[in-house]
Symmetry: C2
Subunit: 335 residues, 2 copies
Amino acid sequence: MSEKVFVSAEEVARKAGVSRSAVSRAFTPGASVSEKTRIKVMEAAEELGYHVNHLARGLMRNESGIVSLIVSDVATPYRSALLRELTQQLQAAGKVAMLINTDRSDGSVDLALRQAIRYRADASIILSGLPDKSIAQLCLRSGQRLVLINRDDDQPGPLRINLDDREAAGRVVTAFLRAGCTRLAFANSQAGTPSLMAREQGFVAAAKAQGLDVIVERHGSTGYEAGQIVAQRMLTRKERPDAVFCATDLLACGFMDAARHQFSLSIPEQLCIAGFDDIEQASWTSYHLTTFAQPVVTIAREAVTWLVEGWEDAPDGHALTLHADLVWRGSVRGG
Amino acid sequence: MSEKVFVSAEEVARKAGVSRSAVSRAFTPGASVSEKTRIKVMEAAEELGYHVNHLARGLMRNESGIVSLIVSDVATPYRSALLRELTQQLQAAGKVAMLINTDRSDGSVDLALRQAIRYRADASIILSGLPDKSIAQLCLRSGQRLVLINRDDDQPGPLRINLDDREAAGRVVTAFLRAGCTRLAFANSQAGTPSLMAREQGFVAAAKAQGLDVIVERHGSTGYEAGQIVAQRMLTRKERPDAVFCATDLLACGFMDAARHQFSLSIPEQLCIAGFDDIEQASWTSYHLTTFAQPVVTIAREAVTWLVEGWEDAPDGHALTLHADLVWRGSVRGG
DNA sequence: GCAGCATTTGCACACGCTTGCAAAAGCGGA
DNA sequence: TCCGCTTTTGCAAGCGTGTGCAAATGCTGC
C-alpha cells in the first residue's frame, strides 16, 4: 500500500534540541522531566504533528491499551446500546475499543479471541457466544482479562456479569396474576442462550408454583419476525393465552404487531404482554411495552472498572448478578 | 496491572529446533520456508499457544492492520447497521476495526483521529462529525487513508461517499403529487448535517418547481421524540399538511405515532409520510413506512475495497455518489 | 567557592517482530 | 564425486518506544 511516514520521537528530539528519552518522558505522565524541556518538546511535537506510537509503546510497556469487544448482532437495539456505553466508558478510562464482529460462523468467538491475543489486548469483553475453554484459558494464562456479559458460564477466571433473569421472570408472573390473567405463555427464540433460557425456566417455574401451566413456543432467532411467527402460532390455538412474556423486547414488538393487526386484539385489554431489555422502541407510543430494563450503564461500569483497576478481593475472576428493574408501561393491566 | 506473559517466537523457535526467522516466515504467507519446517513450527506454536504479536509486526511492516471507525450515536438503527456491515467487511479483508465513540464533546472527532494516529491505523472511516482540516491533512500526510461517509465535505484527499439526497427528495415530491397531496411539509432536526440539509433543500426546490410551498419545521436531534414534537407543531397549524417527508426514519416513526395516537389521523388516507434510511423499524407492521434505503452494504464495500486496494485512477481521493432506492410501503398512497 | 543533595539528562538495552543478505543445504546431471 | 543452480536457513540490523543506571546539572547553605 502507500508508504506511511509518521514522525518519530527522534525527529522531535532533534528539533527540540534534546535527547530522545526526553521526548519519551515528556509524554509519560509522572516521568522525570523539567518543565522547561517538557514545554520545548511539546512545542516541537505540536509543530511536527508528532503522536506517540502506541504500537511501540504497547510493545515496551507490555500493555496495549486495547480492549476487544466480541459481539454478534451489533445492529440490534440492545446490543448497540450496550456497545455505546462500553466504548464510552472504555475511552473515559483511557482504553480503546477493538470491535470484533462474530456474525459469520459459530467458532468465530475463538477466532475473535485469537485476534485479541494477536493485538495483545489488555482485556476482552464477550457479549455473545461462548469461547472454548482452552482458548479462554490461554487468554487468562497470557494475563488477559476476560468479561462475559450475560453468558452465565461457570468457569472461574473471567468476570461474569449476569442479571437476575429467573427472579425477574417470577415478578412477571405475579404481575400477570394481579392483572387477572390465567392462561400464561412464554415466547422465546430458538437461540437457547443461557439468559433466554433462564427467563423461560424462571417463568415456567413461578407459574407452576401458582398451579398454572405455561404455553411455550420457540422459533428462529431473537428478532421481530420471530415474535410475529410465535404470535401466529399461539393465537391460533383453541386455548388462546391472555398473557405473554416475551424473552426479548424485539420478540415482544413482533408479537404485539401480529396480535393487533392480524388478530385485532387490543393490548392490554384482551392480552397482556411483557418484554425484556427495555430497548428504545419499547417506549415508543405504538408499543408502550412493560419490560425489564437492562442496566447497561451499570454493566459497562462494572466491566470497565474491573478491567482497569482489577479487584483485590477476587484476584481470579468474579461473578456479578445485577438487578433488572421492571419498567411499567401500558402493555400489562394494572401496574 | 497484571504481568502479561505471552509466548514469543523465540520460544517457539527453541521448541521447534529452528531459528527465530523461520518462525516468522512460517507465519508470513508467501515467505520462503520449506514445508517441513513450516509444519514443525506450526505444531510447536499450536502446542505453546503462540500468536504473532501484531503490535510488533505492525511496527516492522509499517502497517498495523487497524482501521478506525469514528462514530457518534452508535446505538441508532442506521448507524449500527452501517457499523455491522463495515466491521464485517473489514474483517473479511483482513483488517480489524477500532471503534471510537464521539458522543461526548464536539471537538472529539479530532481527538478520535489523534487516537487513530497513535495506533498507526491504516485508515479511518468517519461516520459523523467533520475533522478539522489541519488534522485531516496530518492524517493524509502520514499516509493514512480517510473515508467520509455522508459528510459531503469538499476537501481533496479522503474518499467521500454520499447519496443522491437532493434527487431522492425530488422523487418524494412527485410521489406525493401523484398521491394527490397538495400541502407538503418537511420534518427535520436541528442537527444541520449536510445530508439532512440536502434532503430538505432538494424537497423544497422540487416542490417550488411544481409551484408549491413547503412547511418546514426543525427540532432537536435526529430521533423519535423530535419527530413527535415536530408533528405536534405541524398538525396544530390551521393549514394542516397532508404529506410529510421526514429527514430520517426515526423522525418519521415519531411523527407517525403522534399523528395517529394524538391526532387520530389515519395513514396514508389522511396523511402521507415518507422517511429516509430504511431502518429495520420502517418495515415493522406498525409503521410500514415508505422510505429510501441506505445502500449500507455498497457503502461498506466501496469504503473497504478502496482502503485495502487503493485506486490507481484516483491516487488522491475520490468522491462517490450512490443511489438511494425508494422502498414503497404503505405510508404513501399509490405506489 | 564548595560540599551535599535532589533533580534532570543521556546512554544503551530491551520489547517481539520482519527482512535483506550471504552462507548452507538440497538437487539434478555429467 | 563434483559443479551449477535453486531453495532454505540463520545472522543481524532495524522498527519506535520505555526505563535503569550513571553522569551531569541545578540548588541550598555554609
